[in-house]
Symmetry: C2
Subunit: 298 residues, 2 copies
DNA sequence: TCCAGGCGGATCGTTTTCGCACCACCCTTG
DNA sequence: CAAGGGTGGTGCGAAAACGATCCGCCTGGA
């Protein structure tokens, strides 16, 4: 009899294209993957991969197997979510994924409140890199900013939050200096991968020279605080920062709408329901802030 | 991440109803099953079984999981058969299941011929107990006696063989003695679980006393040879045995039709095709014998 | 009533599996 | 042309899984 878990290894190699990448995604040593694939092929009596110097490529037989293996993976995921959906106890895990700035500058206090309110729920905030996949149960709740509602995955259930606006900000000290008539070089601070947004135009304060490029939003904010120049920021970041102020003569711009996303079976969980209801209330209170309606006074 | 192989263990326990029976069907120690089920429940964070003194019974959650687990098993079987169906090499396994008397008294010489003809094919004859399940790939070819064609599984491909008749036999010596006018007590020899078939009536020779019960066909034949009485036997057994003769005044009866059964993907295999074609030819030659048209002369 | 045989569970050596380090190889890149 | 990062493959010691065995429990039949 073949070991069903070998099929998981097979899928990882088929997707990763190499034994080592599969090992990484599986969280095991690459030698283990090597052995499991060998065992799998031996027990099936057929070669699933061509062993090239560049990696493992599926053979014709492997392609046929892949189709059914994917099906098993889908069933397995379904099985897990179904069990998790039945879980009505408070004690247990709850994973939330969201964009880093949302966590850092807006919602972390609320997460903390929720965690204090329900100490038995093991919260895990996934705000590291990119979008976690809800369908694969990498997270239970996703908080996303969506510009076009039609881009929402259809298999997810969405709870609409407030609209989110952004503006153009600069150091409050520099703004004071500019008003006092002592201008100094003012540059665009941009995230390298994004550049200057289309809607961002200089207001009364003019920029000079080339843009100043940073890689992440944290550095962007620090640079702005230092008075290096002006930059686009979500209102909930810029307005809440006492060291920053909106650049005179600039307008706000709609970033998108905040959505609370959950998935089929897991939504029934008591933990998920508690969290989404809690957060939904909090988001309602944040509506003016994220819409840019409560700017810090000059 | 859950170990997919645990789902196999889960299925075995769900079907067997106890850890020990599952262990037996899986061919492992029951402690292993215990550990795997424990691990499975722990990783899913839910109880799949109620642990009763009488065994493991599925919980409500377990029932829901079972549904998807069965689906995974189906996919896994499909995967195996698909790979096996691609296998066009001669070297490899070939498992044949059939009723014990067919193997012992009719087809074993043909199996031997086939094995000699194709020494690279590892033949395995499953004539032990009950029907192996072709759909589960417990065997590649099944040879079955079917009375009603409608009882054939629809998912299997059948190759019709000759009709199979049975008759009533007794010891040739006893028959001679009876003819010489020296009667002695004559009993029905029956397989315990079957009893005397409806169609079996005494002929010119009369039975006395209670039936003589045996548990298997081998003992049945030996008892008949010993002159204990008369018994029903397939013609290919009774007519081929020089120590047995038909009871005068009794008729033959249709047992059923021999079928060569194969399953979807595996049928494409060269080994399976070779075997079914070979056996089909041989069965054609056996048609008169199994139909009772070549009785041994008195 | 007692005994046998089914069950789940725990313990303890032993076998198997795994992770680590290392090798040879290929390719790109500086 | 050499160096670095990628690939698959291999040997060895540690760790985890396993099988054998024993135990206590319950049930059904003698």
């Amino acid at each position: 009899m073949i070991d069903w878990d070998d099929i998981r290894y097979f899928l990882a190699v088929a997707r990763g294209g190499s034994v080592r990448s599969a090992a990484q995604s599986l969280g095991v040593n690459h030698a283990t993957v090597l052995r499991r694939i060998g065992q799998f092929e031996e027990r099936l009596g057929a070669q699933m991969f061509e062993k090239l110097p560049s990696g493992y490529r599926l053979t014709e037989a492997g392609e046929e197997v892949l189709e059914l293996a994917e099906q098993m993976r889908a069933t397995s995921h379904q099985l897990e979510t179904r069990v998790f959906g039945r879980d009505q106890t408070l004690r247990g895990p709850l994973r939330v994924t969201l964009a880093p700035p949302l966590a850092t500058h807006l919602l972390m206090p609320d997460f903390a409140d929720f965690a204090r309110l329900h100490p038995e729920i093991e919260m895990e905030i996934l705000s590291s890199g990119e979008l976690a996949n809800l369908t694969n149960r990498e997270a239970d709740v996703a908080i996303r900013v969506v510009y076009d509602r039609k881009t929402l995955p259809l298999n997810l259930h969405g709870l609409k939050g407030p609209d989110l606006f952004g503006g153009i900000y600069m150091s409050r000290d520099r703004l004071a200096a500019w008003r006092a008539g002592t201008p100094a070089p003012m540059r665009w601070i941009v995230i390298s991968m994004h550049g200057v947004p289309d809607w961002a135009h200089e207001g009364e304060v003019r920029t000079t020279g080339v843009p100043f490029r940073v890689t992440d939003i944290a550095a962007q904010i620090v640079a702005a605080r230092q008075g290096l120049g002006m930059t686009t920021l979500p209102c909930f970041v810029g307005d809440a920062d006492p060291l920053l102020a909106r650049v005179p003569g600039t307008a706000l711009h709609l970033y998108g709408t905040l959505w609370l996303l959950t998935q089929g079976e897991t939504r029934k969980t008591k933990r998920v329901r508690l969290f989404t209801e809690f957060l939904s209330r909090r988001l309602g209170a944040y509506a003016p802030l994220v819409a840019g309606l409560s700017p810090s006074r000059d």
